[in-house]
Amino acid sequence: MCLGIPGRVVDVRDDQGLVMGTVDFGGIRREVCLAYVAGEVKPDDYVVVHVGFAISMVDEAEARRTFEVLREMSQLEELDWMREVADRSLDPLGGTAA
């Protein structure tokens, strides 16, 4: 459970009382039911789509923020690793330098 992928809303329309729309996934487009996000959704928003239904909006601000945090952390991790390597190479008891 639960193959849900993010896609960009291209249009929003009413299909006999049900809110539907076209969603673009990296160039592929499909009809998606937008009823569950109808209160918020507009074209160019991103939604998570599961079996042809938008089950939520993608919170783009949160996505950006947390991705930046992750990227920063990965830069710090690299520094830690380098420091560890440097320490080991200075240790007289620790075998040969890397």
């Binding site: 009382g17 039911c33 569950y36 079996v51 089950i55 992750l70 952390m73 990965s74």
Partner: protein, 372 residues
């Protein structure tokens, strides 16, 4: 693809792996609940990369695997009828029932079709007014809103030749059942991200408190899984047991309210058997009385004709993490993806199928004396 492929960044992944390894002071045991998460872990070889820091037990989060035998048999019954077009999600088609599977039913003349969305099944019913169209409504809470909408839509448009065979299951009771088992080894959970997208995470708070286990709502891409594990390990090291949300880009505490509302209107909680595990009270969804006229079980008078499961299949033990697939005596010999004894070998997310691929490779290395 935006908001998807960036969560596969190898540099960040390596950093997260390093962070997990440096934080863990012992080998913690975590369970990822969702089959989609299992799929990522196996596909990316994350099990292998995590080796010493964390043991991942693959949870029962695969609707294909846990759909009870009784419901599969009912599906086979109704699909065999000449007046029925039976529609289903693709991955249900190869699950073995007592006697055969949906594809064999088709070979014998039944009309069985794959659909991507339940609304496609309603459309099929509209286009084929002289046939009955039955849709196999399976899945966790993630899929319930879609299935609910199909029923609602059929009523709204007056599509009377449409009905659903329901076999929904819900996650929290299953997690509690795992945690209640005396031999439970799971110390923390990665909760199913898309289930929580719909439901939010408030129902996990009492579970975390009562059983004192961290529960991290986690997404499906490699960085999501690794970050989720990182957060869970950090909690375990600090002795905390809270619900945390890793999957912030898609999950809010209350979930998607309109979806929950329609699900509650169309479905109600029922007792449900989980294949390989047994009955868990109030762990399933069934149609409410107001929508009974769309219930395929009633419309077609479907009866229980189930035989006992193969005694050899240890699916239950595998799903609860008590047994690794390769420890099952039938694994790879009498039970293979071509001839599965049980559901975890059938589904591509099933733990047994995953291990069948990866495990054989490990054995091949054992034979040739090389490292993978």
């Amino acid at each position: 693809m935006k908001y998807l492929t960036e969560y596969r960044d190898p540099v960040v992944a390596k950093a997260l792996l390093a962070r997990i390894k440096s934080t863990a002071t012992r080998r913690w045991v975590l369970m990822e609940v969702c089959g989609g998460q299992t799929h990522t872990i196996v596909k990316q070889g994350l099990d292998e990369l995590l080796e010493d820091a964390v043991e991942m037990i693959h949870g029962p989060g695969c609707p294909v695997c846990v759909t009870p035998l009784e419901q599969i048999d009912k599906a086979l019954q109704v699909a065999a009828r000449p007046d029925v077009i039976f529609t289903s999600f693709g991955d249900m088609l190869r699950v073995p029932g007592s006697d055969c599977d949906l594809l064999q039913v088709r070979a014998r003349g039944g009309q069985v079709r794959i659909v991507y969305s339940p609304l496609d099944a309603v459309e099929l019913a509209r286009k084929n007014p002289d046939k009955q169209v039955v849709f196999f409504a399976v899945g966790f809470e993630t899929t319930a809103p879609a299935n609910a909408m199909a029923v609602w839509r059929a009523r709204q448009l007056g599509v009377r030749n449409f009905s659903v065979l329901v076999s929904h299951v819900t996650v929290p009771p299953a997690m509690c059942a795992m945690l209640d088992a005396p031999d439970n080894r799971v110390q923390g959970f990665l909760a199913a991200g898309h289930v929580c997208t719909v439901m939010g995470w408030s129902e996990y708070e009492p579970i975390a408190a009562r059983y004192r286990v961290p529960i991290v709502v986690t997404g499906f891409e490699p960085l999501d899984i690794l970050e989720g594990i990182c957060l869970a390990v950090a909690q375990l090291e600090a002795g905390r047991h809270e619900v945390e949300n890793q999957y912030v880009r898609a999950v809010r505490r209350d979930g998607t309210v309109p979806a929950r509302t329609l699900v509650e209107e169309v479905f109600q909680l029922v007792d449900r058997k989980w294949r390989g595990i047994g009955e868990i009270p109030r762990s399933g969804l069934g149609l409410r009385a107001e929508y009974a006229d769309f219930d395929a079980e009633i419309r077609f008078g479907l009866t229980e004709v189930t035989q006992e499961e193969s005694g050899e299949c240890r699916a239950g033990d595998v799903l609860r993490g008590q047994l690794k697939p390769f420890q099952c005596p039938a694994f790879g010999t009498r039970c293979t993806p071509e001839r599965p004894l049980g559901a975890p070998m059938v589904s591509s997310e099933g733990a047994c199928a995953a291990y069948y691929n990866y495990g054989r490779f490990r054995q091949a290395h054992a034979v040739s004396g090389t490292t993978p």
